[in-house]
């Protein structure tokens, strides 16, 4: 009790029969942070979040959320947090605005105190025009935005989002990102899982990278990039023999072959670029290293389904 951390986990473990979904992770989320769980499918992100919410019981380890033990104090903890699930579970028997009122009633909040809040929330997620629409008439993006509004109905201190923009078009993703930044400015702590590196890089102050139920790395996005990959990446497409000759003449370039593309990681790309520019049958693309490079470096390139 009394921890200043919003989430504190020590050796948090979840086993389903023989399979280990989360294999003993430590987490420390500070107030006001946007904290990201990054990992490929099956890495244990959703199971970790479900334990934080008290929706699945840990098999081992200790977990405190908002200074109280989870799952023992789950009712009290959930009163103070908001959840945006990965798969929308809006109530299809109600309209947009009714969803907010009915959800608030689960917190024991009566309609009379909510009129202003509900109006503000609909405004925040740009759904004021759709207040009376049935849920089935909403697009995927509108449903996700309503899920966010619904998660805020109890004015939570902590907002937990499981892959908040998966499957949404770019316009909606940008709207959601800007709203999440706005919530952070208002002092809310955000915890989100994602497999979009761009999302993690834009939003998160701190990340843990999960793979196979364990933390393989953690830190701020920029620090992770600095630690794990060289600052510059040159992606090269061309005959392997030709590219091999160029690379063998240079030092300080690490390369990976993925199908037709050669990924060259380096601290100083100038010599490489100069040589590549001289070649006719080679195309290349130079960019700064990003979180995706870190992610692929840490979790490998094989498919995860």
């Amino acid at each position: 009790m009394g921890s200043p951390l919003v989430i504190q986990a020590c050796g948090l473990t979840k086993r389903f029969g023989e399979a280990t979904a989360v294999g003993g992770i430590d987490l420390a989320v500070r107030p006001g942070q946007c904290f990201g769980l990054l990992g490929p499918n099956g890495a244990g992100k959703t199971t970790t979040l479900r334990m934080v919410l008290g929706q699945t019981l840990p098999s081992g380890g200790a977990l405190e959320v908002l200074g109280e033990p989870m799952p023992a104090r789950r009712r009290a903890i959930r009163r103070r947090l908001g959840v945006v699930p990965q798969i929308d579970n809006l109530d299809p028997d109600f309209t947009v605005v009714e969803n907010l009122y009915v959800y608030a009633s689960y917190f024991g909040m009566g309609r009379q105190h909510l009129e202003t809040r509900v109006g503000e929330l609909l405004d925040l997620v740009a759904l004021t025009e759709r207040a009376s629409s049935p849920i089935n008439a909403l697009s995927g993006g509108m449903k996700r935005r309503l899920s966010i509004a619904r998660a805020l109905v109890n004015d939570p201190e902590l907002l937990v989002l499981d892959e908040p923009t998966t499957g949404l078009d770019p316009q909606v993703r940008h709207l959601i990102w800007s709203r999440l930044r706005e919530l952070k400015r208002r002092g809310k702590t955000l915890v989100l899982s994602t497999h979009y590196m761009e999302e993690a890089e834009r939003l998160c102050d701190e990340l843990v990278v999960l793979d196979g139920g364990v933390i393989v790395s953690q830190g701020a996005p920029a620090a992770l990039i600095k630690t794990h990959v060289e600052p510059d990446v040159v992606e090269v497409q061309g005959p392997h023999g030709v590219v091999d000759r160029v690379l063998s003449s240079l030092t300080g370039v690490r390369d990976e072959v993925v199908d037709e593309t050669r990924y060259c990681y380096t601290a100083d790309p100038r010599a490489l670029i100069a040589q590549l520019e001289a070649l006719d049958d080679v195309k290349f693309f130079h960019r700064p290293a990003n979180l995706e490079d870190v992610f692929l470096r840490l979790t490998g390139r094989e498919l995860r389904d």
């Binding site: 389903f16 919410l53 008290g54 929706q55 699945t56 019981l57 789950r74 009712r75 009290a76 959930r78 009163r79 947090l81 908001g82 959840v83 699930p85 798969i87 579970n89 809006l90 109530d91 299809p92 028997d93 109600f94 009714e98 009915v102 959800y103 009633s105 689960y106 917190f107 024991g108 998660a151 109890n154």
Partner: protein, 264 residues
């Protein structure tokens, strides 16, 4: 198979959150109130009119009760049974599995025990509405013999709880909607046929009379029929006790099994 030792057997408590779950269902029902009530009033009206007047002409009286009253009192109990059961099976399953309504509730201060208690109370409400509709229709058609029939009204709620709980248990363990065919054919229909809705249990062979004593519908009818007919009630505490036991035990089991299904 379900491993009993692996289940969370902590007994449930009652919290005001259950009323929020109940109220959610009431708000949805209010939107569809016209077709629901047409069903609630129309079906028994047809049953009573067709069977009661048709068969009643040939049968006259059973156990000193006009057949019309005999049948109406059986239908009162079976309507409470069916109203509660269908809500506890199809509707609860829909909210638990495809619609993920409970998953949403479990992100709020509500917990499994509130969801189960609220749903049981709503099942009882549906059973109550169905049975009350028959009571009104029956009274208008002259099937109700005494003002003691008003005592049936609180009984409908108890009967609804006694059937709603087991139906939620069935929902908690069923892999899909198809599973409910077993419950319908192996549990509901036998009770409807053998527990005294259409004829007295005393006409059954001895072993079957013993068997139907375990069925809650038998006890529901034993309480409701004398009240509707204005005759003295017998073994009231026994019948109330069996119905209460069904409600309490099934609620406990439902909480344990829904926990297993949703919390894992």
């Amino acid at each position: 198979m379900i491993r009993l030792a692996a289940l969370d057997w902590r007994p449930p408590g009652l919290h005001p959150g259950a009323l929020a779950v109940w109220r959610r269902n009431l708000l949805v029902w209010r939107k569809l109130v016209a077709p629901s009530l047409l069903f609630n009033f129309g079906e028994p009206f047809l049953y009573l009119l067709g069977l009661g007047f048709g068969l009643g002409r040939f049968i006259g009286e059973i156990e000193g009760i006009p057949y019309f009253t005999f049948l109406a009192s059986g239908l009162l109990a079976s309507a409470a049974m069916n109203g509660a059961t269908y809500e506890g099976m199809y509707s609860v399953f829909t909210r638990m599995v495809p619609q993920k309504t409970y998953e949403g509730m479990l992100a709020t201060p509500l917990d499994i025990e509130d969801i189960v208690a609220g749903e049981m109370l709503w099942c009882a409400t549906k059973g109550f509405i169905s049975a009350l509709a028959i009571l009104i229709v029956g009274a208008m058609l002259g099937a109700v013999q005494s003002w003691t029939a008003l005592w049936c009204i609180p009984l409908f709620v108890l009967v609804g709880l006694a059937f709603g709980g087991p139906a939620i248990v069935a929902s908690a363990v069923s892999p899909s909607y198809d599973f409910f065919a077993y419950y319908q054919t192996l549990v509901l229909t036998p009770m409807f046929i053998f527990c005294g809705v259409f004829y007295p249990v005393a006409t059954l062979p001895g072993w079957l009379q013993g068997l139907v004593q375990f069925a809650p519908l038998t006890h529901a009818i034993a309480l409701i029929r004398p009240l509707a007919a204005g005759l003295p009630s017998e073994n009231v505490l026994l019948h109330l006790g069996v119905l209460t036991a069904y409600a309490v035990v099934s609620m406990y089991l439902a909480v344990v099994l829904v926990r297993r299904r949703l919390i894992d």
